[in-house]
């Protein structure tokens, strides 16, 4: 941030004149400025807003019922009434893609909220209390972390069976150790800080210290991780659906549409490629925002 000499001086002496040209900028405003100056992050944010709107207003936007079949009209080329054609059950591809946004966002966001809450709790509890709890929990976290996300997700789905709630649990469990790792380190450092010691000396309970003093100080990191992992969670959901372990039909999901479309790839490529494009754009948008948020937190990493 380019600081004027006046602003620098203002940092040393409090502005005596209330109408001084020095503007006091809150931390939040400063963060927003850094973020909004990052053009690609803004593009990501706009995209996310649009995607959320599509998910909410899917019934209004979709020209047809996404599950209604019409076998006489199966496998049709794009036309003016069906801009992306009809699939092998005669369903409108565009409507299915629009509705597919719902599963993608629901699973993506809820699994990260679940995994984030669980993982963060494990991380700060392990970091704050130390001792046996720490070694057992963090050992477990490290073991889980060593497995690729898809393998963990696949294993849990194999055991639980398919369905949207199970998918959220499976991806949440995959995400949790990542949050635990990130929350753990700063907690170790924070618990030695004076303000935490002061709170302890005042006799505040551990629960209060963890939620009021530790948690807000790692909120930034968690937000970055949340955004990046929402991207990954959406990708995981589509991957598991692609394998056949996602939300069962007839609910339209992108991963399943891509899989079903591969059978007709040579003649009707849009059946796979169009939902794939929707998936790519959505994951990309969350990644852009995550990257932008990281730049806000750690300005050195980008510029």
């Amino acid at each position: 941030m380019a600081e004027t000499p006046a602003a620098l001086a203002g940092g040393l002496t409090a502005p005596a004149n209330p109408r001084s040209p020095i503007k006091l900028v809150s931390q939040r405003q400063r963060a927003w400025r850094t973020f909004s100056r990052n053009r690609s992050a803004l593009v990501g944010l706009v995209l996310i807003v649009l995607i959320v709107l599509v998910a909410i207003f899917a019934p209004l936007l979709a020209p047809f019922d996404p599950v209604e079949q019409s076998t006489i009209n199966r496998l049709q080329e794009p036309s003016s009434t069906h801009p992306l054609g009809r699939d092998d059950f005669g369903r409108d591809v565009l409507s299915r893609i629009l509705y597919g946004t719902r599963v993608a966002l629901t699973v993506g966001v809820l699994s990260v909220l679940l995994g984030g809450a669980l993982g963060t709790t494990i991380g700060i509890v392990a970091g704050y209390f130390g001792g046996k709890i720490e070694s057992v929990l963090m050992r477990l976290v490290d073991v889980l972390l060593s497995f690729p996300d898809l393998i963990t997700g696949l294993l849990v789905m194999a055991v639980l069976g398919s369905g949207q709630v199970k998918l959220i649990i499976a991806i949440g469990l995959t995400v949790a150790p990542r949050f635990a790792r990130i929350a753990y380190g700063p907690t170790l450092a924070l618990k030695e800080k004076e303000f935490v010691e002061a709170a302890r000396a005042l006799g505040q309970r551990s629960r209060v210290i963890l939620s009021r003093h530790i948690l807000p100080n790692i909120g930034g990191e968690l937000l970055v991780l949340g955004s990046l992992w929402t991207a990954s969670a959406i990708r995981l959901e589509a991957s598991l659906s692609f394998i056949g372990l996602g939300v069962p039909p007839p609910t339209p999901t992108w991963g399943q549409m891509i899989r079903d479309g591969t059978r007709y790839l040579a003649e009707f490529p849009l059946l796979s490629l169009a939902p794939g494009a929707a998936l790519l754009i959505t994951v990309f948008a969350f990644n852009l925002v995550g990257d932008g948020l990281r730049d806000v937190l750690d300005p050195r990493s980008s510029k």
Binding site: L140, S146, P148, A231, R235, I243, I258, G276, L280, F284
Partner: protein, 313 residues
């Protein structure tokens, strides 16, 4: 050096025991009775009991666990619930395909990713950098199966240059290689995005270090500064991160094998999941765990070789 290797191998054993126990708990304890799950609700009580008896599933869970661990220690990965044959037999036939695919795509990713990362770091905040960064972020966002489908559409369905599915005949090198091209590019591109991003950030860190400034101040040519000083120091973190991403690559290899209907550990795992073959699934997970621990040891050893500070410690 030898002692170092030995120590690393010994240290891996407790980790492996923890991992294998976790896998056992997830696959064998949580779903309840694997024999019942495999045969379905309609199966007769006798059929379930027979399968339980055959696979030793009628014992208490502790006995099963101890039996399993003893078996593993002797190299027995267990018996498949579906075809009642040793799980290792099936794993053994597909494993070479997965290893082949993984190695070729890692080489591809290093050849493409490291130069991209270094160049974008050097041309920081120019259009080259922006293009590289956007492309690598897009690469990270695209699931492997989507890249695979795009490649199949263009090179197999449209142009007809390469086969879309299968792994070819292993004994026929040309056939085998032709079937390897598209899957390897698919997996390689996913990995390239990771390698390019982390090489860039590693190089940015190195380039802002004092000794690079000193080297420049001494009047060394930019070429020497870059190749002799910056790149060499950057290599150490890059090596360790490549190991990390190789592990991440395993997830994408499952999807790649699925898209190309290619035999491999990943497609075997998906098949086992579909058939509720929990014992085979468990065996595959253990093999994955072994591979992951093995990669970690290799990375550690390479690290030791590249970095004299670690070597002499």
């Amino acid at each position: 050096m030898f002692r170092h290797i030995l120590r690393r191998l010994l240290l891996a054993i407790p980790t492996l025991i923890v991992v294998i126990t976790i896998i056992f708990v997830i696959v064998r304890v949580i779903p309840g009775d694997p024999a019942r799950a495999r045969l379905g609700d309609q199966a007769s009580e006798e059929a379930v009991e027979q399968l339980q008896e055959e696979l030793g599933l009628n014992q208490s869970i502790w006995e099963q666990y101890i039996d399993y661990m003893i078996g593993l220690a002797q190299g027995d990965l267990g018996t498949s619930l579906v075809n009642r044959a040793p799980a290792w037999d099936q794993i053994q036939t597909v494993l070479p395909h997965t290893i082949e695919l993984t190695i070729v795509s890692i080489i591809l990713a290093l050849l493409l990713g490291i130069p991209t990362g270094v160049i974008t770091a050097l041309k920081r905040n120019t259009w080259i950098d922006y293009t590289g960064r956007i492309l690598s972020l897009a690469g990270l966002s695209a699931p492997a199966f989507y890249i695979g489908i795009l490649l199949i559409y263009v090179f197999a369905a449209r142009l007809g240059w390469l086969p879309a599915i299968g792994a070819g005949d292993f004994s026929d090198p040309v056939d085998n290689l032709r079937s390897l091209v598209l899957p390897a590019i698919t997996l390689g591109l996913v990995e390239t995005a990771y390698v390019a991003r982390m090489s860039r950030s590693v190089m940015l860190n190195v380039l802002s270090d004092d000794y690079v400034r000193t080297a420049r101040a001494k009047g060394l040519t930019e070429r020497t500064v870059l190749l002799k000083h910056a790149l060499r120091a950057g290599l150490v973190p890059i090596v360790s991160l490549v190991g990390l991403f190789t592990i991440g690559l395993i997830g994408s290899s499952v999807l790649t094998e699925e898209v190309f209907a290619r035999p491999g550990l990943g497609s075997l795992m998906v098949g086992a999941t579909g058939q509720r073959d929990y014992t085979l699934l468990q065996a595959i997970m253990v093999v994955y765990a072994l591979i992951i621990v093995f990669i970690n040891i290799i990375v550690d050893l390479i690290y030791t070789m590249v970095d004299p500070r670690v070597r002499n410690a």
